[in-house]
Symmetry: C2
Subunit: 222 residues, 2 copies
């Protein structure tokens, strides 16, 4: 957000990491990136520094930056926090959502639901994200909203795998239905619980989760 050039690189790199174009462990050569974007190393370094603060990349002193590698342990921990943050969003949303926001949420859910039966995974993923964003927003806590979005983004390279699990879209959408109802009813306790269970990776879903994980997650146990 500061410089002109650097602020242009940042979202591009962010996007490429988040979508997996740049996979975990990939080295981020400053000179190469500078050439690619047609700038000097200075704004590249600026962008890398900012990315490192969000945890998306890791800067090792004198040894360059790599796309952050996350262990299974880390991932579990992050999902655990994610469940709590989202649950808090849902709880507050149930208490604070406005009529306009209710309308938008209902529409978003119906759109998601109509996609759940098909095979447009990316489309479902995108609309699903939008619906969740509406819930964050309805919490009327900007800081919470920002933190939750940030963690969601950081987890996104690891979540996309999940949507592909057979039947996951449909069950996810059903869970959303109950959640949306709870929020619209102002049932904060229920909304909180449903969300925590929806996001948390537990029970048999845990096994599915581990099974879909690429091998590299098992390497570093930092």
């Amino acid at each position: 957000m500061s410089t002109s050039r650097a602020s242009e690189l940042l979202p591009v790199l962010e996007q490429e990491i988040v979508t997996g174009t740049l996979s975990p462990g990939t080295r981020l050569d400053e000179t190469l990136l500078a050439e690619r974007f047609g700038v000097s190393r200075t704004p590249v370094r600026e962008a890398l520094n900012r990315l490192s603060a969000t945890g998306l990349i890791e800067i090792r002193p004198r040894r360059g930056a790599i796309v952050a590698e996350i262990s299974v342990q880390d991932l579990m921990n992050m999902f655990e926090v994610m469940a709590e943050l989202e649950a808090t969003c849902a709880k507050l949303a149930a208490r604070r959502i406005t009529p306009d926001e209710k309308k938008a949420l209902l529409e978003a859910h119906e759109e998601c639901d109509s996609l759940a039966g098909g095979d447009q995974h990316d489309m479902y993923y995108e609309r699903n994200t939008h619906m969740h964003n509406l819930i964050y927003q309805a919490s009327h806590n900007n800081f919470l909203e920002k933190q939750t979005k940030e963690l969601r983004q950081r987890l996104s390279p690891h979540r996309r795998l999940q949507v592909r699990i057979p039947g996951r879209m449909v069950s996810s959408s059903n869970e959303h239905g109950a959640l949306v109802t709870a929020i619209l009813d102002g049932n904060s306790k229920l909304a909180e619980k449903l969300t925590r269970d929806h996001v948390a990776i537990q029970g048999e879903r845990f096994t599915d989760f581990l099974a879909t994980l690429p091998a590299h997650y098992l390497r570093n146990s930092a």
Copy 2:
């Protein structure tokens, strides 16, 4: 963590912001900072970029960096999230704390308690922080621990005021007593609730909170 010089500036600036030596709104002149630390502007800019990612400072394009100014609204939002994060730590700690960690927690609490009656506010603040850190650690979720510490640090310039409220140290310590018991008993539900109530600013404490707030909080309502 990356460079040699820049990684030395970072914690220094962080500390000065957190302790209030650099108060909200203060401009962070790159050249001045460079001279002060005996380095060029490059590592200074690097440090500033990283600080901006944590939210402690704000970098306005082409207009330099300032120590972040926080509105009352922001502060309320952040405390709300803080309460949830700490409550989650306490909940998980109650379920996962080890015998060694139990011992350390009990000792830390007793130390805090013995300070609560006196007037060594800074000492109490420091030992209180330590106790809270032990609870975060006992959650056995490194990511949660890191996030909670980060937010606590970010809030710390605004919290110090609170400890000075008459009787606050004693009531705080009493609340801790009940919390520690809940954690040691493995009562996660209770630990969660006690912590949320302990951290949250609500009821009559809200009025006290507003009353102790310096005027500048009321300016920007971003």
